[in-house]
Symmetry: C2
Subunit: 351 residues, 2 copies
DNA sequence: ATGAAAGCGCTAACAG
DNA sequence: CTGTTAGCGCTTTCAT
């Protein structure tokens, strides 16, 4: 039954031992030839490569992974993938990782610790060689992350980090970003600058807030609790928060928001109240989202060097993996932000 | 040297045979107990589970995958992850896949066939159990995808598909979406509706365009080449295209764009020319991007049921995987779009 | 320069 | 209900 035979041949996935059999070589020789081992004769290598090509040989990664105890896969846990920031970070990560021959497994926590825990478990289960994490809004305890380290799996945080000095991380200088944004507002003549802040257990929100207060202080501006409102920073939160702030402090003339989603909500509320931007209220945010240039007025925002952050973080992780057991001392990389001034805060075009 | 011993114990990853040894059972019994096999006594199961817990036993997925010839991982290839559409599709896919115990490996082609080919190769290499693909803009030939099917790996397309009837796919009814959008513009009194179209080898662009022409015809409107402009649909393309259209046909009074990025570019150009939206030119697009509600005016757009598309696509893939060899006839699912009317096209608020 | 053999950790016949 | 055995496909000593 020749038809069936052909079918069988077509469907069969060639393995190293198949090659070995057909070439009258041992599996070890073929294996070495395929990995271009130095002590295999060029002649043999050619024969092996040729047949491998002919048979469409594809290495079984799973088997190699099992044998070597390495999957060549990295895990990535992010709060969510929509929005410019994480999308770009992911791009940076993928680029570097793929170049190094690693695949990426991406998980979204949707800002929930519970989901984050499941994500971590799934990644450990999938035997990833290392994990990159940006924490969810609701992550207060870190047992699931300690577990990762307990197992000796290299771990790198980025952006939203666990602040113990014990882990490697790459972050933006959020403090500086906040400081720059608020200084800029002050330079534009703002006297009563409000802040739409995020959860203060998150390093990024805490530091941006500190940048805000410090900038005010260095300009000898008082810090007024009536000008400060904390929330989870959704667009709706921004709108509501702005409403509250305007009621508490009708004389406010500037807003620094911890992210652009909240800022755009605030913008809507400001416009709804019939106030002019930036003349009556100047606006600055954080993240440089795509929509910042699409609103009217266009929104001033702090750029976060997303792709660079991703690239730096994987590189760190790859270094840790390469270093193996010898636990390197945790490194922290801090990237410098850039303030992008747009219409929402530019009072004097010639300033 | 007790210290060293303790260290060794702490670091060792317990395996099934470790459990077996400590319990005086065979590996197979332990294996069966762990997977809650029906023919293992409850007493034994309890003993096994208890010890597994104590030793923090974690199954080695890689080994199981090798043995079973299944990695429980799915591959996903998308053009890019920024923007609302793919982000939401990914969310839908992850939800369903995780529930079914599958992990996802996400790759971005960045709209380049070359990268898409690499992505596919990487996924095959990683031994995924099935692949989901949305084609890149520049994909004209499909060898890399044929290769997937040649290897018997289940394959499902979504949104941007290969139009041979031989593959399973889930798409939006783009034709209907285009038809609805243009009908709506006509209902608003537009007589000279322009189209910013995308590459016509892509099913989505072709079908949206066809929706445009058919809607015009059914309203007895002539189809004027001067009102039609094709590009790759970036924001800049939209702006430029709009400039050209306005020069070719100064009397145009409506625009249907194949995506919202191009539409927002067009909007900027229209405003720059001092024309009013929607009174002079009414605008409608496709994708329901986040920024549609942030522009002024807010943009009318066709919603694509992103999450549903993702969920449907994985479900299909999981079915194919479950079905095994017996190649099911390829299925096509077509989701119905919804037109979201906003300010950019609403001429009479009471209409 | 090549081969033999062991084994990564797990599952699944095939016995009892 | 439990045990024995045989691999999945690959890498890697240790020989020669």
């Amino acid at each position: 039954m020749p038809d069936l035979f052909i079918f069988a041949v077509a469907i069969h996935r060639a393995s190293i031992s198949d090659l070995a059999a057909q070439l009258n070589l041992s599996v070890s020789t073929v294996s070495r030839a395929l990995s271009n081992h130095s002590r295999i004769s060029d002649a043999t290598k050619q024969r092996v490569w040729e047949l491998a090509r002919q048979l469409h040989y594809q290495p079984n990664h799973l088997a190699a992974a099992l044998r070597k105890g390495r999957s060549n896969t990295l895990g990535l846990v992010i709060p969510h993938i929509d929005g410019q920031f994480f999308a770009l970070v992911v791009k940076g990560i993928e680029t570097v990782a793929n170049q190094a021959g690693f695949n990426i497994m991406i998980c979204q926590s949707n800002e929930k610790v519970a989901q984050e825990r499941k994500n971590i478990a799934a990644l450990l289960n999938a035997q990833v060689d290392g994990i990159l994490v940006s924490l969810s809004l609701s992550t207060h305890d870190f047992q699931h992350l300690d577990e990762v380290r307990r197992r000796g799996i290299p771990l790198v945080f980025f952006d939203r980090i666990m602040e113990s000095a014990q882990v490697s991380a790459v972050v933006l200088d959020d403090y500086q970003g906040g400081y720059d944004a608020v200084s800029h507002l002050l330079d534009q003549g703002c006297q009563r600058i409000a802040h739409l802040g995020g959860p203060q257990h998150l390093n990024i929100c805490k530091n941006r807030f500190k940048g805000y207060t410090d900038a005010l202080q260095s300009y000898n501006c008082p810090i007024d609790p009536a000008l400060i409102h904390f929330s989870d920073l959704s667009m709706q939160d921004g709108r509501d928060g702005m409403g509250i702030l305007l009621r508490q402090a009708p004389d406010l003339d500037g807003v620094f928001a911890c992210n652009d989603l909240a800022l755009v909500g605030a913008m809507q509320m400001v416009k709804q109240q019939g106030l002019r931007i930036p003349q009556d209220v100047a606006l600055a945010g954080f993240s440089n989202e795509l929509f910042d240039s699409l609103t009217e007025p266009m929104l001033t925002s702090v750029d976060q060097r997303c792709e660079e952050m991703g690239q730096t973080a994987v590189q760190m992780l790859l270094d840790m993996i390469a270093a193996g057991d010898q636990t390197l001392t945790p490194r922290h990389v801090v990237l410098q932000p850039t303030l992008l001034v747009r219409e929402s805060s530019q009072r004097n075009p010639f300033a």
